[in-house]
Symmetry: C2
Subunit: 408 residues, 2 copies
Amino acid sequence: MKKIDGGVTAAQGFEAASAAAQIKYKGRTDMALVFSKAPCVSAGTFTTNVVKAAPVIWDRDQVYSGAAAHAVIVNSGVANACTGQRGLEYCRQTAQEAAACLGIDENSVLVGSTGVIGFHLPMDRIRAGVRMLAEAKRPGREAGAEAARAIMTTDTVPKEVAYEFEAGGRTVTIGGMAKGSGMIHPNMCTMLGYVTTDAAIEKTLLQKALSAIVQETFNMISVDGDTSTNDTLLVLANGLAGNKLIEDIESEDYKVFYNALYAVCKELAMKMAADGEGATKLIETKVIHADTLENARIFAKSVITSSLTKAAVFGRDANWGRILCALGYSGAQFDPENCDLYFGEGEDKMLIFTNGSAADYSEEKAKELLSGEKVSILADMHMGEAEATAWGCDLSYDYVKINADYRS
Amino acid sequence: MKKIDGGVTAAQGFEAASAAAQIKYKGRTDMALVFSKAPCVSAGTFTTNVVKAAPVIWDRDQVYSGAAAHAVIVNSGVANACTGQRGLEYCRQTAQEAAACLGIDENSVLVGSTGVIGFHLPMDRIRAGVRMLAEAKRPGREAGAEAARAIMTTDTVPKEVAYEFEAGGRTVTIGGMAKGSGMIHPNMCTMLGYVTTDAAIEKTLLQKALSAIVQETFNMISVDGDTSTNDTLLVLANGLAGNKLIEDIESEDYKVFYNALYAVCKELAMKMAADGEGATKLIETKVIHADTLENARIFAKSVITSSLTKAAVFGRDANWGRILCALGYSGAQFDPENCDLYFGEGEDKMLIFTNGSAADYSEEKAKELLSGEKVSILADMHMGEAEATAWGCDLSYDYVKINADYRS
């Protein structure tokens, strides 16, 4: 398995485009298309928020129906959430326009939407945008990069990842793009993520892989504890790599595909956490020797979600009491007298807390370990063999600034 | 029942004092004493954090033992949490010093501690502080106010409330003090709250009243979602009002006592939320017509805990989509198509969201409703008869500033 430069157009047969449809933002692109020349099997995971945006319902129905997927149309600026019954109509009209322009079936079009909740979509502009996208679609690195930029809202950088690997003597490619960066506390899925692959893989196996991987990647990040109404992660597989169809969960080909999909999802998720609204640092919290996998995840997420811990990391203040406090209110049980906390990772890690009170550590070195772009926290629970990692970001003035007047 | 000026010294027989023991802060008081001339029955609720500070364990044992309580000693600056086995020893030494100075039993002394987690208590200074407190203790309004100021950490104002009422022909008084204002997301209790009363009331009834009231007052506020290791709420009742002992849960006297204790706890809790770290506004979220009381509470707390909602209120941005989003990820079920949202309260309230999408409301008036010191949000779930109210505060630059370098 090898990491390569690329995103949603890395795999064979995938094209992309962006367009400036003037939905809300001025002077930038705000619509993206991902298109596959061959029909795809699709898999997806979606928000668990009771309030589901219309595109979530549309895509979920498409994925569950088993119909082939051909294209994804995404707009940024307005989220098409809380728009009542009209929301689904917007999805249908978008898909109809795309189907007409691209010569594909309406039911093979997936849609995505991100931005402010509660405003109605300007459908004339959306339809014009779809026509521009259909005109502009093309293969290649730059088209994928354009699409990754067009779906950004408060993101400061586009997020793309691609890997290639061998399966049955053929080179298979898998790549993806995603966007954050506020209202990020995925539960079953994250904001918007799109992964494409030329692997030939059976649909139920693709969904099984995705559902398992999401638990350890997108569901383990948080920016602000708010689970969005629009969270959607889709994988499209068009089979153009020509590998023997992956249909056996025990096969080597499935394992290598799984690992590559895992790597793509993990890196997209980490990029999303690192680019959280106002973030200056990525926070990685690893919990080891927990009693159960569920509790390991609960502990790790509780730490990266704690506002006080996040603010302390922003200030490079080694206020480990807040980490212990967050483990303590997580809802999972442990013995504070038998838990070790470290800052840093690998050889460089430093023991901060042990036997129920502070270790004899250097505040200076602790500040140093909190000064990089990535801050690592390790908690050893001494209870069992389960472990989990979660990713978050610090809480800065800019988070408040961005969110105090987001709609303007 | 009548609200009066006062705090922990409002009730008969209670005295207080403050001292500058130089534990951490310079140029201010950092220790407080509350003393009752007559022995008290005590009741308490304590943090549910797995990591419990030593004073929580000490006080819990004192309250549960049934022994009479005579005095409370509190220090601010260092929290005596995560100090291992030494933490309980600090509590014992503090109680011993107080017992010797005040001529009371060691087991009648309750202790409280708030400030940075993880540092050891400078016991020489604490002991000297206890001696100063014993010298300075006196009845009266000013002594109570001094104590309320001495227990503050990042609080910007002291928090005191008192009520008086008639029970069995006698005037009974109940008053209290509390402090916030970060790591506030009480679960069974809040940071530090001390309530005193001269009511004669049976101990188990006092505990029953307190436990019920805490669910609707202190447990319904949040500043930052972080449940502290030190949360403690104590009530001391010395019986000096001379009322007939309240021992029947069906009696009128119990009901009027309950209402007064409720009023004191509710107002202290609201003061704590309003003075949350960096807060410029109190946010009150009322949920009506929920299906169950539990869900009503879950909905209300989810809204006041949402970082995105809090930042929007700081910016006076009527971003109601975030409120709906927070209801949606709360964990309780409802139908977004059948939920109404309002800003404001009473006659002045304005419908914002109904039938699954935005109501035809005035953005200007919405901004006005978000501009006061108190912002009211009302959610009508149209499901049943349960209701609940929760209180929080906005998320400002100053929250980040205060917490980025709290230990310095």
